[in-house]
Structure formats: structure tokens, C-alpha cells
Amino acid sequence: MNKPGMITMLLMTSLSIASANEIDSLLAGYRDDGAAGFSAVRGKLLWTTARIIDGEQRACSSCHTADPVAPGKHVKTGKPIEPMAASANPERFTDMAKTEKWFRRNCKWTLGRECTPQEKGDLLTWLSGQQE
């Protein structure tokens, strides 16, 4: 393999390792906060279950659709939302502060409260396992 090719490959590999590392550190943080044994099945259930909050039926899938590999659309404004699955959108979960900011906002909107470390870990486990 030529040198520029090798450099590109090294760079790309290190980028994807970086995002995998971010997810691992998030999960490790949730374990430190008392969560254990993350489950993709529970994550999927939480994603698709609708609740009545402020008189509206709300679920993660209201905006993100039931398929995290697909692009979503804000339920009120119609704003396009990039897919949540890391396989379809390599930018996802590469910035821990951003991930936590959106968990805080969207859990409060969707569940009427913040998500527990267990719930966040289950969701992340499910989302990071979805393949295109």
C-alpha cells in the first residue's frame, strides 16, 4: 500500500476508535453511577414506548422514527434530524457533553423526567448496535 493510503487508513481507523471509546466511557460512567448489565432489548422498548406528557403522546420515535438508522423529523417543526445509529451517522456519540445535553433535554420532554444511568446505557447499547 502507498504511504498516503496508509495515512488515510490510519486516520479513519483512529476516528472510529475515538467514537467507540466515547461510547465505552459513557457506559463506564453509567456503571459508576449504579447501572449494570446494559440491554439492547430494554433500550429498544424504551425507544418505542409512548407516554402521555403535558397532554401529548410522546416517544423517542415521535421525532427519530422507530428505526434509528433512518433519518428523523422534528414532530412539531419538521426540522430534519440525522440518524441516531452510529453506523448511519459517524458523528453520533463522539462528543460526550453533547450526548449528555441531549439526553437531559429529550428525556425530560419524552418521559417527563431525566433518564436513569441504566436507561441511558440501555439506549446507547441499542443505538450503537444498529447496523445499516
Binding site: K3, P4, M6, I7, L10, H74, K76, T77, G78, K79, K101, R104, R105, N106, K108, W109
Partner: protein
């Protein structure tokens, strides 16, 4: 041996990129200056202030001034994540203050920020807010679309073109019709309504 070569190549690539970036920055600066003066003649937007000074004339002008107020980047990133980062002079200081104090219920969405980021954005918005005539004599609207100047400019536009138009949906999406909204330009000559085209007043 191989490792040393790789490191050398990476260093060279990095240098080339930095030089290219620096050159690009200078060029944009000059363009911005030029367009800024030119635009003073043809812009019939009746609002003054922030639009002209920061975003008003062109994307390049916006780029140049962004460096001068570091909070502009924070504002564009955080607020522009969900909707257009509206020019701060579209609302009065009191309106921005109320809005930033209530991000947990941001017109029905949760848009809360950590205190440091919210503080930075809040003072940026208040620094660049609309100047109100006659002080706090009148109460200030919470929404841009409730401002008197906004209603006066948009009252003739029927619901089928905005609310019931799948390509627009809401007056809050300035950029759906104002093709140069991202540059801070809201001149009616640049209006194209999805599904309808030119808007002739």
C-alpha cells in the same frame, strides 16, 4: 524508519493545511469589506443595527465579525442546532431575557443549557438586541413572529403558503422562503415561497 517517514509526512501535510487556511482567511476579510459597502445601496430592509453590523451584508461579513465576538459562535452552534440562529435585533432585550430564563419550556420543547453557556448566549443576545423606542413603555413579545414589525411585514401572506405549506410549516423557519436569511438578509427580492415561487408584494 517507517515510523519516522510517517511522522515527517504528517507534519508536512499539517503545515500545508495551516498555510492554506491562513491564506483563505485573508481573502475572506477583503471580500467582506468590499461587499459591505456595496450592499449599503441596495438593501431596502427597514431594520437597522445588528443585521448590518454583524450578519447584514454577506456571509463573509458574518464570518469576519464572528471572530470579534466569540459568543457569536456559541450562539450559532447551540441555537442553530435546532432552528435558524435568528438575528438578535429581532427581539428586545427584555424578550431575550425572558426566553433565556425559560429554556426548559422553549415554546413546548426542552432546550436547556448549562449555566455557563446560557449566560454567554444571554449576554450576547442582550448586547445585540433591538433598541426599543420609548423605553419599556410597551410590553415586549416573547416570539419574533408576534413583534409588530414582523406582523406588518407578513400579514398579507395566506396560511396556505406557510402553515399549511409542507415546504414551510411555520413562520419561524425564515430560511424556508428568505433564501438569504443565513446571511442575515431579509430583502423581499430574495423571497421564494416553496411551491409558489416569487412573492410580489
Amino acid at each position: 524508519m517507517k515510523k519516522t517517514l510517517l511522522i515527517l509526512i504528517s507534519l508536512m501535510l499539517g503545515l500545508t493545511a495551516s498555510v492554506a487556511l491562513l491564506a483563505g482567511h485573508d481573502e475572506r476579510g477583503e471580500d467582506a469589506h468590499h461587499e459591505y459597502h456595496e450592499s449599503d445601496h441596495d438593501d431596502d430592509d427597514d431594520r437597522r443595527g445588528w443585521l448590518r453590523r454583524i450578519a447584514g451584508s454577506s456571509e463573509t461579513q458574518q464570518y469576519r465579525d464572528r471572530g470579534q465576538d466569540p459568543a457569536f459562535g456559541t450562539y450559532s452552534n447551540e441555537c442553530g442546532d435546532c432552528h435558524m440562529a435568528y438575528p438578535p435585533d429581532m427581539l428586545a432585550k427584555e424578550s431575550w431575557r425572558g426566553l433565556m430564563a425559560n429554556l426548559e419550556d422553549h415554546f413546548g420543547d426542552n432546550a436547556e443549557l448549562d449555566a455557563a453557556t446560557a449566560g454567554e448566549i444571554g449576554s450576547f443576545l442582550e448586547r445585540n438586541a433591538a433598541r426599543t423606542m420609548g423605553g419599556a413603555r410597551t410590553s415586549q413579545p416573547a416570539r419574533i413572529t408576534d413583534a409588530r414589525w414582523f406582523r406588518a411585514q407578513h400579514h398579507e401572506i395566506p396560511a396556505r403558503m406557510v402553515k399549511n405549506n409542507p415546504g414551510v410549516k411555520s413562520f419561524s423557519r425564515c430560511e424556508a422562503c428568505h433564501t438569504r436569511a443565513a446571511e442575515g438578509r431579509f430583502n423581499e427580492h430574495d423571497v421564494r415561497i416553496p411551491g409558489y415561487g416569487y412573492w410580489d408584494d
